[in-house]
């Protein structure tokens, strides 16, 4: 069964149509990557899935775990099991990272310290959320919150951009724990829980593909001008983009369009 099913989704920001009929299916347990040049609509797609204001769905629907969430407010989507790591999260003055982490954790607070340690964020817990955080710290703080929130489908918007090589490994590990592909060192889990967690899925945006050295992706998609123009093996797509640029995706798309 698909954890996420997006059908013919059109999204406008203001008067401008940014997404022009997206179809995307993510089965349970799979990691999908989303490639595409700057401004192609990747963040817009994640924002529409989360239901942020200003991203107006003009056509189509978003189905999460069999539930049509197209009209639901953001927090209800979060409570149903959607989570997101922001490309550029805002700073929240006066609210400590620890407070926000506790909110994400709900009853699961004991994992907080452990995950903070793993992500090298222990000292940041007492700092205000994203206030003066470096680029890499922001990304790690996003993952800390998600690890505690335990979403079933996680949307990762460039989790490794601006992160140094050593920290990419840490972020990769965090994503694998998040997806139940790796068990945190001290964690004891029932087999039932392990099985449940294996059903977790991700939609991951990456430009460089560096994170794919740590996280196994099942399928990749290319977004161009608000349309998914290609889907397939993520490593193949990445190497095509690396060797020939997005130009090749345009060409390929046109050919297919003519042929089909």
């Amino acid at each position: 069964m698909n954890i996420l099913q997006i059908e013919d989704l059109c999204v406008s920001i203001g008067d401008r149509e940014v997404l022009k009929g997206i179809d995307l299916f993510i089965p349970r347990g799979e990691v999908h990557t989303l490639f595409g040049p700057n401004g192609s609509g990747k963040t817009t797609l994640l924002s529409a899935i989360m239901g942020f204001e200003g991203y107006r769905v003009t056509r189509g629907k978003i189905i999460f775990n069999g539930v049509d969430i197209t009209e639901l407010p953001t927090y209800e989507r979060a409570r149903l099991g959607l989570g997101i790591s922001f490309q550029k999260p805002p700073a929240i003055n006066g609210v400590k990272l620890k407070q926000l982490a506790q909110i994400c954790a709900k009853e699961d607070g004991k994992r907080l310290e452990e995950f903070a340690e793993m992500l090298n964020l222990k000292e940041h817990l007492e700092r205000e959320v994203n206030v003066g955080f470096s680029g890499g710290e922001v990304k790690r703080s996003e993952l800390l919150q998600l690890l505690l929130q335990r979403p079933e489908l996680v949307l990762l918007d460039e989790p490794e951009s601006g992160v140094d090589l050593e920290n990419i490994a840490i972020i990769g590990e965090a994503i694998n724990i998040l997806l139940g592909k790796k068990v945190a060192s001290t964690e004891e889990k029932s087999i039932k829980r392990i099985k449940e967690e294996r059903k977790k899925a991700a939609l991951l945006i990456t430009h460089t593909g560096h994170i794919l050295d740590y996280v196994d992706a099942d399928r990749g998609h290319v977004l161009l001008n608000g349309k998914i123009v290609c889907s397939g093996n993520p490593r193949e797509i990445l190497s095509t983009i690396k060797d020939h640029g997005y130009e090749e995706c345009y060409r390929c798309f046109k050919d297919e369009f003519k042929g089909g």
Binding site: M50, F52, E53, G54, P73, T74, Y75, A78, R79, G83, I84, F86, P89, P90, I92, N93, G94, V95, Q99, L100, I103, C104, K106, E128, Q145, Q149
Partner: protein, 387 residues
Amino acid sequence: MGNEIERIVKEIKDEAPPRSEEEIKRLSEEERNLLLKTGIDILGKNRCGLFFQHDHSVIKCESMVDGVEVMDIEEARKRYGLEEYWWKLIPPDKDIWTKRAAEHQEHGYFIRSFEGAKVTYPVQSCLYLSMDRLAQDVHNIVIAEEGSELHIITGCAAGPHVRSGLHVGISEFYVKKGAKLRFTMIHNWAEEMAVRPRTVVVVEEGGSFESNYICLLPARDLQMYPTAILSGKDAVATFNTVLLAKEGSYMDTGSRVVLKKEGCRAEIISRAVSVGGTIIARGHLVGEAPGVKAHLECKGLLLSPKGVIHAIPELEGRTSDLDMSHEAAVGKIAKEEIEYLMARGLTEQEATSLIVKGFLSIDIEGLPDELKREIDGLISTVEKEGL
């Protein structure tokens, strides 16, 4: 004088029946809770002194440690004269309110920490107004003698049956060489009250004064502009102000620091939230000596289209080689911040509440936990009503 305040003053009574110490025991639970919200824990133990003025009577006055004395100001004047402190920082004819206090004054507190005394727990002082339409005019003197450390929590509150009234408070504080005074004041007034504190503090060489002012409940008309004069080298002043104005409240508050000698430093920080009321957030730094350093920060958050926040930061340099700066910002909560928190599962309401709490949470050292919790709770409820 505005129409509102004229009306309030017209209806005001200047006489109150005498109260006795017995009243403390007779305070209802509602009243005790009310005082708790101003930091006054009548039954608690974590203090080193208590002053309690009920309407026009001082009903309790005690010091639990050797380093501090707490007295009714009348008593202190009889015993010490206090000529060199009485009306020395504030001229009685400064405005109609100081004039009023000079004529009508009924008590007030005298608190002094002795030379070198370091007091761990705060002195709690409470100015309680239990009668509707009563005027309370007090005159307070605080002296932190050389090298001493003193923390005072003053809670000013109107009782559950008070709607209207007038409070005028003259406060003259003296922070001597190397002394430290921390003064935390919580105002919990009633909807129709007019409030006119008049405060001037002088800080000598190496001394430090820290003021924390919190006003989260409505007051019809509040106007104050406490001033710290840093008269000695390396003196320091900090003002933290937290204000929340409901519809119908008018708060015109500011803090001023005059830096007169080299090495003086000052910081003024204010956070104002309006859920429909008007807040004028002022700040004024006057640099008179080279090498002083001072910063002023006024931030306002508007949660209702009816609200008004007017930030007026002023920097006045009277010599070259100054380092004075300011930062002012007024606006509503950024949509991105709310959505960020909603993406973690908070409702719009919960997200807003957390952001407002964060906005108002300037670290106030030494604030009792009880009071912190009260403030948090208060912000949540007020803010719910306001939206």
